[in-house]
């Protein structure tokens, strides 16, 4: 491929404070398709980047309600409809005895919704990312603090964005190819 396409630029920052500050400034300048990368979540970064809230709780709720419904229907249908059987003179179905299993299934499916929902929202698993080609970027899971701006951002301009990142204190600014 001769006509190489670029994915964006990547800059490294010295510490969480500088990264947070850079994110704030870029957001103020109007950038939206940029991302910060860090070894741990940084307090205040969501606001700095202007992110709206996470959708994970809705998936948790959806999972929980599904579990609740399955739990009640399962115990009612198997015990009172499909094969009614008198055991110890107890009723075929009653919410009292159905509570523990319904509760456990609600929790189980809430957890499924939360975990698998979180991975899905994050687009994981994602075995490859253009940033993997930047050797320095491997430090992001150790002590590296990075900020990337995607070419797809309407404000992106190779030279201007590069300079803005440099002014904000970004080091080792690299153009990342889209491969």
């Amino acid at each position: 491929m001769t006509s190489q396409k670029n994915w964006g630029v990547l800059a490294e920052f010295a510490n969480p404070a500088e990264l947070l500050h850079a994110a704030q400034e870029l957001h103020k300048l109007g950038y939206r398709k940029f991302e910060t990368w860090s070894p741990f979540p940084i307090h205040g970064m969501d606001d700095a980047m202007g992110l709206t809230g996470s959708k994970v709780p809705w998936l948790t709720l959806g999972g929980g309600l599904t579990g609740l419904t399955i739990g009640l229907l399962l115990q009612w249908w198997t015990g009172a409809v499909d094969y009614p059987l008198v055991i110890g003179g107890k009723p075929y179905f009653a919410w009292q005895f159905a509570t523990p299993v319904t509760f456990e299934l609600s929790i189980l499916l809430s957890a499924f919704g939360t975990v698998f929902g979180m991975f899905a929202l994050n687009g994981l698993p994602r075995p490859y990312h253009p940033l993997d080609r930047v050797a320095r970027f491997r430090r992001v899971t150790d002590d590296g603090f990075f900020l990337s701006v995607e070419v797809a951002d309407p404000l992106f301009d190779m030279e201007r964005t590069h300079n803005q990142l440099a002014e904000l204190g970004g080091a080792h600014i690299t153009v990342v190819e889209d491969k």
């Binding site: 307090h43 996470s54 456990e104 957890a111 150790d142």
Partner: protein
């Protein structure tokens, strides 16, 4: 004045979460180093011993499958012997892991970060050990799937009116949710190991399980929310699990079991025994793997305080059971308790009370709480005491309503080899965990360091300089 005394200072400024001089990189090095070092001979020896003991478990189970539950010491009034004792014992141990990872997280007890990974691993391995016992106790193991609502040729369904079935759902949900919680916590740390991998095998295996985690803030946002929600789900879950385990006893109509104090009493006991097991494992491991800077004396002391509280709660429950047995006026109830303390199993009752109620009282003293040897020894005592608690409760069966059917239960060698073997299973898994996975949550520990806060005083100067530079440029 005492204002300037060192003790006073200490109480105003709590010690840091991470001892010694560490930055982000040195934390990665210290924790990943344990995993990346070549196998050492002590580790292999430890694995060999644990593996041999585990083999004994599998051999005992094999013989049990061949011969049937008659190889155990079960008899007619005592249909539940060591298998149920061991089941409750192991489930209880698991509970401290969830308590540390979920409950302390919700209460924002940041000191938990050093021990949560460790404790969660313990939970999972303990629940695996627990699940073995009811699984093999069913007698006809090939029919064990009857516990699950699977459509079958008999067109029959499980009996949802039975607390034993509630237990199946409770413990399997608990295992699954604990595993997910542990895994979610591990993902960023597996990514760290992937990014440091020297060999292809390490790169691919850590790479596979880290799912391509790269620390994007949009990912952290969902991740943190998911983690918080999981903690919020695991908290009622852990309380429900031991509550439902106690229902196995409390929902029956036997004197000594049919009491409303069982759920809270079982939960307190579970937390108590679980913290004891965390300490039994943590005190030697921190030494062996050089993790003293992360699992500090402060952690040990906090856990000892929890042991003191829960141990005292358990003691209160023992007393209250006796009181209610007398106050109820039921002669059967009264007999069950008198028989527990003064009947043929008086020695088990004595072991239970002295290990669980008396031994934790040493932790009123700060000197004792911060002494590693004392902590280790007392943690063993608590483990033993809590096993005896379940034994005492189960042995209530041995004298039922009809004196002619009374009997004395004694375990056989196969009961013992199965129980001992379950420790082999537990330690094999634990030893493998310590070597192949980060034993301390790397990203979480970094997150509680002062440097992780963007408003840390150390950054105030740099931050100011950068913003000045930018605003100067903008002005030009």
């Amino acid at each position: 004045m005492s204002d300037t005394s060192p003790h006073n200072k200490e109480s105003i400024f709590p010690p840091p979460f991470v001892a010694g001089k560490h930055d982000f990189h040195s934390i990665t090095e210290a924790i990943c180093g344990v995993v990346e070092k070549p196998l050492n001979i002590n580790w292999i020896l430890a694995l060999g011993v644990a593996g041999t003991v585990m083999a004994m478990l599998f051999a005992s189970i094999g013989y049990l499958f061949w011969e049937g539950t008659g190889i155990w010491g079960l008899n007619n009034p005592v249909g539940w012997g060591w298998a149920i004792v061991n089941f409750v014992f192991w489930v209880g141990i698991g509970h401290a892991g969830t308590l540390i990872s979920a409950v302390l997280f919700l209460f924002r007890q940041k000191w938990r970060t050093a021990i949560n990974r460790f404790a969660e691993a313990m939970t999972i391995f303990a629940v695996i050990c627990a699940l073995v016992f009811p699984g093999i106790h069913v007698g006809r193991v090939w029919a064990a799937y009857w516990m699950l609502p699977i459509p079958n040729q008999m067109a029959m369904w499980p009996n949802f009116r039975s607390p034993l079935l509630w237990d199946v759902f409770a413990v399997s949900t608990y295992f699954t949710v604990s595993l997910l919680f542990w895994y979610v916590g591990l993902v960023p740390d597996l990514a760290t190991l992937r990014d440091r991998a020297k060999s292809k095998l390490a790169f691919w295996s850590y790479g596979l399980f880290s799912l391509g985690w790269r620390g994007a803030n949009r990912h952290w946002q969902n991740y943190e929310r998911a983690y918080m929600l999981l903690a919020a789900l695991a908290t009622p879950l852990v309380l429900s699990v031991h509550t439902i385990v106690s229902f196995d006893f409390a929902v029956s109509v036997l004197p000594g079991w049919h009491t409303t104090i069982f759920p809270p009493y079982f939960v307190a006991g579970a937390i108590f025994s679980g913290f004891a097991m965390v300490l039994t494992l943590a005190v030697p491991s921190r030494k062996l793997f050089g993790l003293e800077d992360f699992i500090t004396i402060r952690h040990i002391e906090n856990m000892n305080k929890i042991i003191l509280v829960t141990g005292t709660l358990v003691g209160y429950a023992y007393a209250m059971e006796f009181f209610i047995a007398w106050y109820s006026g039921s002669p059967y109830e009264g007999f069950a308790f008198i028989n527990r303390a003064f009947g043929p199993y008086w020695w088990a009752y004595l072991a239970m009370v002295s290990c669980n109620v008396i031994s934790p009282q040493f932790f009123w003293s700060k000197k004792m709480r911060t002494n590693l040897t004392v902590t280790f020894i007392l943690s063993i005592f608590v483990n033993i005491g809590m096993w005896f608690e379940r034994f005492v409760i189960t042995m209530t069966l041995h004298r039922d309503f009809l004196p002619s059917s009374w009997d004395y239960y004694a375990p056989t060698v196969y009961d013992m080899s199965t129980f001992l073997g379950s420790f082999g299973l537990f330690f094999t898994l634990f030893i493998l965990f310590l070597k192949f996975l980060p034993a301390v949550a790397i990203s979480e520990v970094k997150g509680v360091m002062p440097q992780a806060d963007p408003h840390w005083e150390g950054y105030a100067h740099a931050h100011h300089a950068v913003s000045n530079a930018v605003s100067n440029k903008e002005a030009h």
